[in-house]
């Protein structure tokens, strides 16, 4: 416990943490504040309903049909390998096949048949297109119906208790910055041993490298989550002030921080520890930038509700609440999985630390 406190203090008092705190708090506050100013206390009036990604067969079929016909006529299809948009043109015999699929699409009567057709379309395009069971929702964006808007409002008031809706946006925004910055902070933190020539002194002490690294990891999670918690506390107070006569979930932002954001932080921090143990330099930050970029690009296609296997699940909307509660299990599985994966990464870091200091060090170092 003493070591945990000392490591936390060391990170807290570092210049890197100060910069991190300013960036994290600034990024969250600047991006979430405009949304917090929107009122959720009353039912939206007609023509002011938010847009959603529909899931009903008719809207999905129409959306796919409209998009595919347009792309077919122009013979320019957009695919998204690793989340990055890429245009593709089909050869004449492939166009003929696509024409057949469009005809088949017109004949579909249910979601199952629709899925079979879009699967073939996706294959024709070489994969990574919008024509997959998971992605076609992006083609079915429309304004909510009055009934859907009422249901959305009811969920915000009763289940979200107002603050939950803001907390989702808060988690979405915070995830974006927590998904990348901690890696470089942690690498700089680890590299301080080398920069300050403290490594030999530290390694000659009783405590094992593994114990120190595990303690540092735990300390990093608490310390690097602090700016997120501070921002969450600020928004809890703001929402409380804006809705004095409503029932508010006062823990909504804290729950979002721990359940939604912490697993992302666990990964980006673990990436720092693991890659520093492996390479003893800042190359891990390049890996994390790559991971972050791919996740951001994939998530950018459905920012108002997309969880799947994204490192930073997206929900950049105060609405689309039904989607959130329908996919809550998916989100929780995502978060638990990433938390476990982070622990595996830390396990690898511990193993490498022990190998470098212990017996198999010989096999990995330049010495024999």
């Amino acid at each position: 416990m003493r070591l945990f406190w000392l490591e936390s203090k060391r990170l807290l008092l570092s210049g890197a943490f100060l910069i991190y705190s300013v960036l994290v708090c600034g990024f969250i506050v600047l991006n979430v504040n405009p949304l917090v100013n929107r009122s959720l206390a009353t039912l939206p009036t007609a023509n002011h309903y938010d847009a959603i990604y529909a899931s009903d067969f008719r809207t999905l079929k129409n959306g796919v049909m409209s998009q595919l016909t347009t792309e077919y006529k122009a013979n320019t299809y957009t695919t998204y390998p690793l989340g990055f948009a890429k245009t593709t043109a089909l050869k004449s015999h492939e166009r003929a096949s696509m024409r057949t699929q469009i005809k088949a699409l017109k004949q579909t009567k249910n979601r199952h048949a629709l899925n079979l057709v879009i699967k073939r379309v996706n294959q024709l395009l070489g994969g990574h297109s919008s024509y997959t069971a998971a992605n076609i929702a992006t083609l079915a964006r429309r304004q909510m119906t009055p009934k859907e808007a009422r249901q959305d409002y009811q969920l915000i008031v009763t289940r979200d208790k107002i603050s939950g809706a803001f907390a989702r946006v808060f988690a979405d925004i915070a995830g974006l910055i927590v998904g990348i910055l901690p890696t470089v902070i942690i690498i700089a933190f680890c590299d301080a041993d080398r920069r300050s020539r403290a490594l030999a002194t530290i390694q000659s002490k009783f405590a094992s490298s593994g114990k120190r690294l595990a303690t540092q990891y735990c300390a990093s999670l608490i310390v690097l989550l602090l700016p997120v918690l501070v921002a969450g506390g600020y928004f809890t107070l703001r929402v409380n002030g804006l809705y004095p006569h409503q029932v508010i979930d006062r823990f909504a932002f804290m729950k979002a921080a721990v359940i939604w954001i912490l697993p992302t932080l666990m990964i980006s921090s673990a990436m720092g520890f693991m890659t520093y143990q492996l390479f003893s330099n800042f190359v891990g930050f390049a890996f994390q930038i790559g991971w972050w970029l791919v996740t951001t690009m994939i998530g950018a296609r459905r920012v108002d509700g997309y969880y799947g296997w994204l490192l930073m699940p997206r929900h950049n909307s105060l609405h689309n609440v039904a989607y959130f509660y329908t996919h809550l299990n998916e989100l929780l599985i995502n978060r638990v999985s990433y938390a476990m994966f982070a622990l595996i990464m830390v396990g690898v870091a511990l193993l490498v630390a022990q190998l470098r200091k212990g017996g198999l060090h010989i096999a990995f170092s330049s010495q024999h």
Binding site: L6, S196, T201, I202, S204, F206, S366, H368
Partner: protein, 291 residues
């Protein structure tokens, strides 16, 4: 039983044709032991192996009866001041010691008293709340020795501790080490002969990973007796004299140069060797033997 027993220890590095340590066998008892050797002789490698920071290629060493295969048990018994000691620059002296005390498994309740005592011992009490980066070279070395003693070790291993210190700090630091050696084993590694001369009479001389000598300083001096000479040479002949002799000292006054030099034999007047000359004579013999 010796405090440190090193048996046939060899350390080779990939891409380096000669071993850093070559079948080294050495025993060190309680008190101060000086390990002399020029840069690259293998001293730091030996220190790192004894502190379990590196693994030997072959051979073994036992520290207070514990083999190198039990690194954590060894680290619990030793204190180590590495070459060019430094620490987190933004930490205060007291916090740095508290941090290292925790790593050294010193009970939290005992830390405050222990740190206060060590700061007093190394005369750094007034600097307890000063940041490490604000310490002078001598103060930093004293912090280094304080951290090495934080777990009250049975064996203190110090690697080139006086390098870069001014004469006053060097003397103060040597005295400090001598004080600590009364209660424990201190292994002092250095290339500065005067450091050893001022602190101990038990020495080992290392060169190219091999132990050239182990014993008392007097024995080393005795071995060189009859091989150190002095000569008074006219100034105009001094250049040629230097080219044909291994000079250990030169003092020029008026039109004459007074030389002390090392040779197997000479017609000049033999003199009693200093420890430094005895050390040079040993190195010369070793190199002359084709090593």
């Amino acid at each position: 039983m010796h405090t440190i027993e090193i048996t046939n220890l060899t350390k080779t590095y990939r891409k380096k044709p000669t071993p850093a340590l070559d079948h080294l066998t050495l025993a060190v008892d309680k008190g101060m032991f000086g390990l002399l050797g020029k840069n690259g002789a293998g001293k730091s490698t030996l220190m790192k192996i004894l502190t379990t920071l590196e693994q030997p290629t072959t051979g073994n060493a036992v520290v207070c009866g514990i083999p190198l295969s039990q690194p954590q048990a060894i680290r619990d018994l030793i204190g180590y001041l590495p070459q060019n000691f430094a620490f987190y620059p933004n930490m205060t002296v007291a916090n740095a010691l508290a941090y290292l005390a925790t790593l050294a498994n010193v009970p939290v309740r005992a830390q405050r008293q222990r740190i206060a005592q060590l700061l007093a011992d190394v005369n750094l009490t007034a600097k307890a709340h000063t940041k490490v980066r604000q310490l002078s070279g001598g103060m930093l070395q004293r912090l280094g020795i304080a951290q090495a003693l934080i777990n009250n070790p049975q064996v203190l291993i110090v690697d080139e501790p006086t390098a870069g210190l001014d004469p006053e700090e060097r003397i103060r630091f040597r005295n400090l080490l001598t004080d600590f050696s009364s209660e424990r084993t201190v292994l002092l590694s250095t290339h500065i002969v005067s450091d050893v001369e001022a602190t101990t009479n038990q020495i080992g001389v290392l060169d190219h990973g091999q132990l050239l000598f182990t014993g008392t300083t007097n024995a080393l001096i005795t071995a060189a007796t009859g091989h150190v000479f002095q000569a008074l040479v006219p100034r105009e002949a001094a250049v040629q004299f230097k080219q044909t002799h291994q000079i250990s000292e030169q003092v020029t006054q008026a039109d004459q140069s007074h030389f002390r030099f090392i040779a197997a034999s000479s017609s000049q007047t033999p003199v009693t060797p200093t420890l430094e000359e005895a050390y040079l004579y040993l190195q010369t013999q070793h190199e002359g033997a084709g090593v």
